[in-house]
Symmetry: none
């Protein structure tokens, strides 16, 4: 590995949501797949038998002539006993893959809603185990969601500033001040509001 670490991290994915135009991260699925198949010492015919996909189809996928369907990918991954992350992992693996992404304060990409403003962090790295973001919770933001938020995974939350109330399905509400944190199962209904006069700032990290 010389000096192209910069590249290893999935490069240039530009999304222009206005006009439906996007450049997609150039993951070379076909190349990757051929590499894996070769590593396993399989011919196309053998791979075909293991996956149930036609030899021709495999060839076309490897040569990037077609884009396999989800079903095909399932057959691929289960047939060859590889897992999806492996397919999408950066091609370089042998030595420790240096991946890094810095998010400067206030320079993230905010997703504003009426009561929250979510700012995703480390958006340049895909395939992460954790998904960190900062949120601003507007002062006195009641009614916002009348309903529980519930999703897979676990969540860690730290109050950066302000004061919030953390509601959850199986517990009494708690007030959290700056520096306080909660760790919880996100399948448990949860929701939070700002109770003070000022907006509250929160750090979340989710992992599934």
């Amino acid at each position: 590995m010389t000096d192209q670490q910069q590249q290893d991290i999935y490069p240039s994915m530009t999304i222009t949501s206005d006009q439906h135009e996007q450049k997609i991260a150039p993951i070379k699925l076909g190349e990757r797949l051929k590499q894996i198949r070769r590593t396993l010492g399989l011919t196309l015919e053998e791979a075909s038998q293991k996956t149930g996909l036609a030899r021709s189809t495999l060839s076309k996928i490897e040569n990037e002539q077609i884009s396999p369907t989800f079903q095909a990918m399932q057959k691929l991954t289960s047939g060859l006993q590889i897992d999806i992350p492996q397919l999408f992992a950066a091609p370089k693996q042998v030595s420790t893959t240096g991946r890094r992404d810095i998010t400067r304060n206030e320079l993230g990409k905010p997703h504003p809603t009426s009561t929250y403003e979510h700012e995703l962090l480390a958006t340049q790295l895909t395939n992460k185990k954790m998904m960190p973001f900062k949120s601003l919770i507007r002062a006195r933001s009641f009614d916002a969601y009348a309903d529980w938020i519930r999703h897979d995974g676990e969540e860690f939350l730290l109050v950066l500033s302000g004061e919030i109330t953390f509601f959850s399905e199986y517990y009494e509400p708690v007030n959290l001040s700056e520096g306080d944190s909660v760790y919880y199962d996100a399948n448990m209904g949860h929701m939070l509001i700002s109770v003070s006069e000022e907006d509250a700032s929160i750090l979340w990290v989710t992992a599934s």
Copy 2:
């Protein structure tokens, strides 16, 4: 559709090619996707704009009427800022075991060393996916570790106060100020010091 969602759409397809017989996990991509979209608070139209896929297509994918192509999936994941593995994560759950742990500021369990002071958070919960802690890095803490820190998993770091320099094996050192964050592969050698006159306070979250 009444109650047979469990089974239907990816009907645990069994590949019977000659010798190898396999069951493909019936990952319900559509359901998963709908869940994610809902979690993000997006309508089909909004998701359509973010991903560049037609509203109708999204609908059909969510209802498992079609199996999206790889291209479509790339648009999905990059447009909605989600990881591909996230999509494939096991159906999971129902466990809804409410687990929760609150750590009050300054009330954690500090582990002091000469240059750091680590305070583990959420210590009452075992078996967590993430391991959060706060650290205090003493001012002008040089030489401390002359060597890289390296371990499995990924790490997320946010500067709560002060200013530090983040050293890593494959990159130039960077200065991080309050609010800045880094996400990196912890296998890559890393290390940090406080550069200002005051101690710096950091939040870390690790996941393996």
